[in-house]
Every structure is written in structure tokens, then in C-alpha cells.
């Protein structure tokens, strides 16, 4: 039996919903989910006994405490004796990279008429710093066992129809041909993660369009997003559904079983 814990923010909903259907296909795998919205997750700590969660003194409202209990049935989770720990929905800094490329073309990676140029070495240095700042807290560096990062999915194609501020950089991704930049950042992020003992499980290639964004169908959320009561808005262009979660979990389980992954190569994406 492989015992896996997936910690995460709101993005945990997709694999959690999927697991209800998938579990019987993986009888040798036990998965437990735990986490909370980003603000709640940030208040969680790991104690010396391997309990991760909201401990005494956590700066959090009674409402959020109750919500955590409602969502996960407990305020903490026992991580002792597990085989692997996955961090789902990690903000891996890709938005910051996009913001950087808004103002700069990067030598050898992208030439789209941005007002200024950044050398490839400077980009690498800045991107390494973004990656380093995006990794989980230092406390996890000493964690004994397999650690896998599941970076936040790329937004769906329909993000380019959104007029929100957040979507601004993503609206320009396809016409600018960001494939090589994103692939380079993935490589640097993987380097930084590996140096701290993390493996990576990106969203599967099957969830991406040729333009490098997530297929819209994975962002079509049901009226009731399970019973997880996670925030859902009509214009949600961030969270993915159980279909997405199933593919992601399959990929993760394959990876943990040392099977080949289907990690996409973004340089092959049209417009890269």
C-alpha cells in the first residue's frame, strides 16, 4: 500500500473530487487530502510529532477554523509514516514571470516587440529567484520522504476573454508566443525544486491546448463544485474540475510508481 497525503489550497478540490471515482482503480494507493484556502494554509504549521495543521496559537478566525473542520473533518493531519507528500496548487511564480515578460523581451527566448530587452542570463537569475521564493516553506526541506510539487494549473484558454487585471498578462500569452519562456521557467523551477528534494508533477499534457493553456472543458465547473464549498464564481478562470483532477492524479500516481510521465514540452507548442 502506498500512502500519500496531498496538501493544498483551493486547487485540491479537483483531485479530491476525482479520487472518489478513481480510488477503486488504484487499490494499492491510499490518499488523504488536507489543506484550506490559501490564507488558512498559510497559518498551518508542522509540529515535532508530524502533525500538520492549525495548532494552538494559529492566527485564524473562528469561521476559518470551523470551515477547515467542515472541509476536512479535522484541524490537522498526521503525516507520520506516509510514503509521499504532495503539495497541490502551489503558486509557482508563473504569473510573476509573465509580468516580467510584459515589459521585456528576452534574448533567445522571446522577441515580440516589448519595450526593453533582458539578457538570457539575467532572466535566468531573476527566474531562479522567483522559483526559490515560490517553493514551500523551509520547514519541509527536512521532511524525510518523497515530496512532490503539483504546481497550479495554467489558466484555461478562455482566460483571454477575461477583462480582469489578473488575466491581462495571460491575454497576451498566445499572440506573443510564450512557449519557450514558460518552458525555460519550468526547467529552472524544476532545478530549484530538485535542489530542495522536490519532484514535480505538472498538469498533464492532455489537459493543455496547442497554445499552451488549459483546455476550457477542464475549467467548466458544475453549479455545485462537489460539497467542498470552495469559492466559485462564474468568471472563475483558475480552478479546474474533477475531470482535470482525475488526469492529474493518474499522472501523480504513475510518477510515484516510477512510471513515465507525460510532462509536456512547451517548446513544441505552436507559437513557441
Amino acid at each position: 500500500m502506498m500512502r500519500l497525503v496531498i496538501l493544498g489550497n483551493s486547487h485540491i478540490a479537483a483531485p479530491r473530487l476525482a479520487w472518489a471515482e478513481l480510488a477503486e482503480r488504484h487499490p494499492g494507493v491510499e490518499i488523504r487530502f488536507f489543506g484550506g484556502l490559501q490564507t488558512v494554509l498559510a497559518a498551518m504549521t508542522l509540529d515535532a510529532q508530524g502533525q500538520f495543521g492549525l495548532h494552538a496559537g494559529a492566527q485564524i478566525s473562528d469561521h476559518d477554523r470551523a470551515k477547515t473542520l467542515d472541509l476536512f473533518g479535522a484541524l490537522s493531519i498526521d503525516l507520520s509514516g506516509i510514503d509521499a507528500l504532495a503539495f497541490c496548487g502551489l503558486d509557482w511564480g508563473i504569473d510573476e514571470i509573465l509580468a516580467l515578460t510584459d515589459g521585456f523581451d528576452i534574448d533567445g527566448l522571446i522577441e515580440s516587440g516589448a519595450p526593453r530587452h533582458l539578457s538570457a542570463r539575467a532572466f535566468d537569475a531573476f527566474a531562479r529567484d522567483v522559483a526559490l521564493r515560490s517553493l514551500p516553506d523551509a520547514v519541509w526541506q527536512d521532511w524525510n520522504g518523497r515530496k512532490i510539487l503539483m504546481p497550479r494549473p495554467l489558466p484555461p484558454t478562455r482566460v483571454q476573454d477575461s477583462d480582469s487585471d489578473w488575466a491581462e498578462a495571460w491575454r497576451r500569452v498566445t499572440p506573443r508566443g510564450m512557449g519557450r519562456v514558460m518552458q525555460r521557467y519550468r526547467d529552472l523551477f524544476a532545478e530549484g525544486a530538485a535542489a530542495q528534494g522536490y519532484a514535480l508533477c505538472y498538469q498533464p499534457a492532455a489537459t493543455l491546448t496547442a497554445q499552451g493553456l488549459t483546455e476550457d472543458r477542464f475549467n467548466q465547473l458544475p453549479p455545485k463544485f462537489g460539497n467542498l464549498k470552495l469559492p466559485r464564481r462564474a468568471d472563475d478562470r483558475v480552478h479546474m474540475n474533477a475531470g482535470f483532477g482525475a488526469l492529474w492524479l493518474d499522472s501523480l500516481i504513475d510518477q510515484l510508481a516510477n512510471a513515465a510521465t507525460d510532462e509536456p514540452t512547451l517548446t513544441e507548442i505552436t507559437g513557441g
Binding site: G103, R116, H117, S119, R121
Partner: protein, 351 residues
């Protein structure tokens, strides 16, 4: 009997103003000729010590220009390793007035430096600012393209500035024999190859430095007649000299020339003021405490003292120490000084 010294204030006498002040700050060392408004657009340039000046001004809320900005999320330590956030444009250290004059003329299309691209280990460097890309670029064309973009930023910085804060650093420089192009570093230190047939050592004298800065002043005031200048002299001694003199003697000459130039400029022009950071750091009253163990690098305390006096004289309440995380992108062994100093690379040739 009367004496012209009879009615002078205590600050005019060594015994009371220096020997008698103990460890106290020389609060009346500098009486600014003009106040610098927090809204005045400031362009900073100069030797590595100028980075401290620029940083202190920024921390105090002055409008120090940055015409080649990076997103705020990128930490200073990372940005500064690539020459960002050191000065108002990404020109790196400008050690001589001749280089400053040359840069402004180049930015205005009035001159083109000779041998603009230097090479090292198959990588290509901007000879006028070899430190800003520590690993160099892929091709000479790329270096020139980056430089063209940089020159536009230089035009913007010097074209819009209302105050130039410049720290004179060195008198010694390396010139292209045929054209007189001056370089910030000796060829063969950061990049490039030294060929004595191509490059020549030059130790600028007072008349030359003065003339160079006068040209800078004229160029800038021609565009902005209200432009003002705050000049300083770096208290950091030479890392090495190519003059043939002992490095200590060469340092004394260099600083004396630069200090004399500043004094002359201040005497000549109402729009030029001199901030005595050099005197603060090197003062006998400081008993060497503002220098690091290598007797060259200025300690953080020395920098803080100088900049505190600057701000106090300008009527600004200095920000709390440590209000901004210190940069850690130090190169060249300037521990505590937290500056990027190409000339410190000359240490590599020390015997």
C-alpha cells in the same frame, strides 16, 4: 590688537571642531548651498561609493530616477548583480569625469566609443560597462543592441534630471590610444585583452578633470538651465595603481586632484555643491573606524554616518537603519559596503 580669526565660530578651529569633538558626529561639517527638494528628479552616477549615496537618497524618499527599472518583486541583491538599481540608468560605475562626459555625448549621438565590445571565454561584454552582465552576452551584435537600449535610458535620465549627484572616484584610467575613448576598467580585468599598442594608461590631472566636469555641466545646463550638481569624492582608496608610484602616494594624488576639482567647481558655480563624505570617512577624528580591516572598504557604520549627516543637513529625518533589507549582491569583497565595485577585481592581480 585685532585678528581676523577672533570672531570665528568653533567650527573654524581644529581644536574645537575636530580634536575636541571626540566620537560625536561633526554635525556642522556641511552647510548646503541649496536644499534638494524631495520632488526634484535626481540622477546619480559615479564610482562605487556613489551607490551608497543613491541608496540613502532613495531610502530617505528623494526622487532618485531609475530609467531602467525592474519589477519590484525582484530583490535588490539579484537586480544589482546585473547592474540594475545601482544608478539612475544601468551604466555601472563611472569612475572618471571623462567617462561621464563621454557617456552623455554618446547618448546624444555625438561620439561612438572605440572597441565597444570586449570578449572573455567566448562571451561578449560592453566595454563601457562590463560589470552589468557578469557572464557577458552571446554575440557582439547583442551587446550593441543592449547598449542602444541603454543609451536611450541614459538620454531619458540626464534629459529629465534636475539634480546630478556625482561621486568622483579615480584619476587613473585606460584610454584607446587612437581615439581617446576612455574605459571604466582596464582591458584584461573584467574582459578584453590588454594590448599596449592599443590602450594607454592615463592619470588625469586637475585641469583635465575640471575641464571634463565643466563640459558635463555645460551640456546638462544647456538643456536644463536650472540643473544643479552635488559632487562628492569617494573615500575608497585605489585598489591598485598603474602610475608607478606607491599605491598610497597614488591614492593621495588622486583624491587631492578630485577634491581640488570639487572645491574649484563649488567656488565657481552657485549650482554646484560639495558634500564632504570624503572628509567624514577619512577624518582623523574617526581614527580609522570607518574603514574595514583591509583599510580600504568603508564600513556600513561609516556610510550611515556620512549619509545621516547629509540628510540632517538637508533637513530630512534619516530613516531607521535597516528599514530596507540590505542588498546582498556584493562583489569585489566590499563587505559591509554592499556595493558593486569593478576596480576591486584588480585585487586578483595583487602580489
Amino acid at each position: 590688537m585685532t585678528s581676523p580669526y577672533a570672531d570665528l565660530p568653533p567650527r573654524a578651529f581644529w581644536r574645537s571642531a575636530v580634536a575636541g569633538r571626540g566620537g560625536a558626529d561633526p554635525v556642522d561639517l556641511w552647510q548646503p548651498k541649496f536644499a534638494i527638494s524631495p520632488q526634484a528628479r535626481i540622477v546619480t552616477a559615479g564610482s562605487c561609493f556613489a551607490q551608497h549615496v543613491g541608496r540613502a537618497l532613495k531610502q530617505a524618499g528623494f526622487a532618485v530616477m531609475d530609467t531602467e527599472p525592474l519589477p519590484a518583486e525582484i530583490p535588490d541583491a539579484v537586480a544589482q548583480r546585473f547592474g540594475y538599481r545601482l544608478y539612475s540608468a544601468r551604466y555601472g560605475n563611472i569612475y572618471t569625469a571623462r567617462q561621464l562626459w563621454q557617456l552623455i555625448r554618446e547618448a546624444r549621438g555625438k561620439m561612438t566609443p572605440a572597441l565597444p565590445v570586449w570578449q572573455r571565454d567566448g562571451r561578449f561584454f560592453d566595454a563601457q560597462r562590463p560589470g552589468v552582465e557578469p557572464d557577458g552576452l552571446d554575440s557582439p551584435d547583442l551587446v550593441l543592441a543592449h547598449r542602444a537600449e541603454h543609451l536611450a535610458a541614459v538620454r531619458q535620465a540626464f534629459g529629465r534630471a534636475e539634480v546630478l549627484v556625482f561621486t568622483f572616484g579615480l584619476t587613473e584610467a585606460w584610454l584607446h590610444r587612437e581615439t581617446g575613448t576612455v574605459y571604466p576598467t582596464a582591458p584584461g580585468t573584467v574582459a578584453g585583452d590588454f594590448d599596449p599598442e592599443v590602450f594607454a594608461f592615463h592619470n588625469f590631472d586637475m585641469a583635465e578633470v575640471l575641464a571634463d566636469f565643466e563640459r558635463v555641466r555645460s551640456l546638462l545646463r544647456a538643456r536644463n538651465p536650472d540643473m544643479r550638481f552635488l559632487v562628492t569624492v569617494s573615500p575608497v582608496p585605489l585598489t591598485a595603481t598603474a602610475s608607478g608610484q606607491h599605491v598610497e602616494v597614488a591614492t593621495a594624488y588622486s583624491k587631492a586632484v578630485l577634491r581640488a576639482v570639487c572645491g574649484t567647481l563649488v567656488a565657481r558655480h552657485d549650482d554646484v555643491d560639495y558634500f564632504p563624505s570624503y572628509e567624514i570617512i577619512t577624518s582623523q577624528a574617526a581614527r580609522g573606524q570607518f574603514y574595514d580591516a583591509n583599510l580600504r572598504n568603508v564600513t556600513e557604520r561609516g556610510v550611515e554616518t556620512a549619509m545621516r549627516l547629509f540628510l540632517q543637513a538637508q533637513g530630512i529625518t534619516p530613516p531607521l537603519t535597516g528599514a530596507e533589507p540590505p542588498a546582498t549582491g556584493t562583489r569585489g569583497g566590499e563587505r559591509g559596503a554592499e556595493v558593486v565595485c569593478e576596480d576591486a577585481l584588480l585585487e586578483a592581480f595583487a602580489r
